[in-house]
Amino acid sequence: MAPTFAEIAADAERALAGLDAVNRAIAAEAEAIRAKPALTAADKARLKELAEGENKVLDEIDAVALDTVQRLDATADIRDLIARVRKINADLNKATAKIRKIGRIADAVGAASDGIKKVSDKLAKLTKDG
């Protein structure tokens, strides 16, 4: 059975929480080195290593996020929501169409009544003249 939207999102959240912990650890170490009054060659080398580590972690965060959104989009939950909204819209449009149809019928009744009135007037004239 395919995972649900909630399951996929929960998996991603767990993965991202782990990556965030690593990201924060790298940032904290880099900040500590930058805060030193003078940087040694080893500090500079370490900053470079940390920058590379940070890049990798951020790439991994991107990968989790981008893969997850595509998986979320393909879930049955989203297809089901689309179907439900379309059904609601169809019902609303049906009610609107009904009101408009009555308007068209009323136009037809009005036109027919005009005809009846004309016939009646002619009959009245004939009766009077007759």
Partner: protein
């Protein structure tokens, strides 16, 4: 008994000038709802666009690492020939360049926009004018025939009957609208709650690559400034930090929450209209004398038309 009930309704209608049962005014909450969906669509599309650009960059990096896996056409060949119908590049079952990462959710958002439009259309739909015109013409025609057949002038009775027909139709249309609006908003409430929650989750993920890019920029600027502390490096560091600050302050969740909140307001207005209708009928019930007057007039018409 039934006819007396109808006549009573007609008098009630006449007593309040045929306007007693107007549909609730949904103008303001409908506009707010429609606007909030429009904002959400913009936010979502922008986030998708930025994320798709980053995803396409990743796909190209993967293709560069494994160029043998880049194929022409989804089926792994047959495209990009003079006799082909199309030409596209694919990598491991995916197009090398995606147009969107959240196509289904954008469809869902569009359908929510259609829902707002359908609510507006139903609220605006009104055939009472046409029904009134038809009823006026029909009663004139009928009274003309009645006069002809019976010899008794019946034109005086035509107007109340036309008003009766118009009022009954007005009630019917109003009930049709109320029922459809209540049903739709009731059905939509749980759908919207679920959809907005999902949009918020997806958007938080869509904007992550933009945030990681901003973090990279800030960290590189921090190192550059620390290694060579010049005014230019300080300014660059500050600029990157301010850009990231603005990114972090953006709250996409709020945009989607707004949709749900404005919809709840719609439901509330529809619910409130029940009270005003009940109050209106209470007031109308006191107009007993007029009921008798019209009942007599209509009876007289029936006799005349005989």
């Amino acid at each position: 008994m039934r006819r007396a009930g109808v006549m009573r309704c007609a008098v009630l209608a006449l007593a309040v000038g045929l306007a007693g049962c107007a549909a609730p005014d949904l103008g303001a909450p409908l506009t707010a709802f429609s606007d909030s969906i429009g904002k959400a669509e913009t936010t979502f599309a922008k986030a998708d666009q930025a994320a798709t650009a980053r995803e396409n960059q990743r796909r190209v990096e993967r293709a560069v690492a494994e160029p043998n896996k880049v194929v022409r056409g989804q089926a792994g060949g047959g495209e990009c020939l003079a006799s082909s119908q199309a030409c596209s590049l694919w990598f491991e079952g995916e197009p090398l360049r995606a147009a969107t990462l959240v196509g289904q959710q954008r469809i869902l958002l569009r359908e929510l926009g259609n829902y707002a439009e359908a609510l507006k259309q139903l609220t605006a739909a009104d055939s009472t004018g046409k029904v009134k015109a038809a009823a006026d013409k029909a009663t004139v025609a009928i009274s003309s025939i009645a006069t002809l057949v019976s010899g008794v002038p019946a034109a005086g009775f035509a107007a109340p009957v036309a008003q009766l027909v118009t009022w009954i139709y007005g009630r019917y249309q109003d009930n049709l609208k109320r029922s459809a609006l209540r049903h739709a908003t009731g059905e939509m409430a749980p759908v919207l709650a679920s959809a907005t929650q999902k949009f918020a989750t997806t958007t938080r993920l869509l904007i992550l690559p933009e945030r990681t890019a901003a973090q990279r920029d800030v960290s590189r600027a921090a190192d550059a400034f620390r290694l060579q502390p010049t005014p230019a490096a300080a300014t660059a560091y500050l600029d990157k930090a301010e850009r990231m600050d603005a990114l972090l302050k953006g709250n996409p969740d709020a945009v989607f929450q707004q949709i749900d909140e404005t919809h709840k307001e719609l439901v509330r207005v529809l619910g409130d209209s029940d009270l005003s209708l009940a109050e209106l009928f209470q007031r109308i019930d006191k107009l007993g004398a007029d009921i008798e007057t019209l009942a007599k007039a209509v009876e007289a018409f029936h006799k005349a038309a005989g």
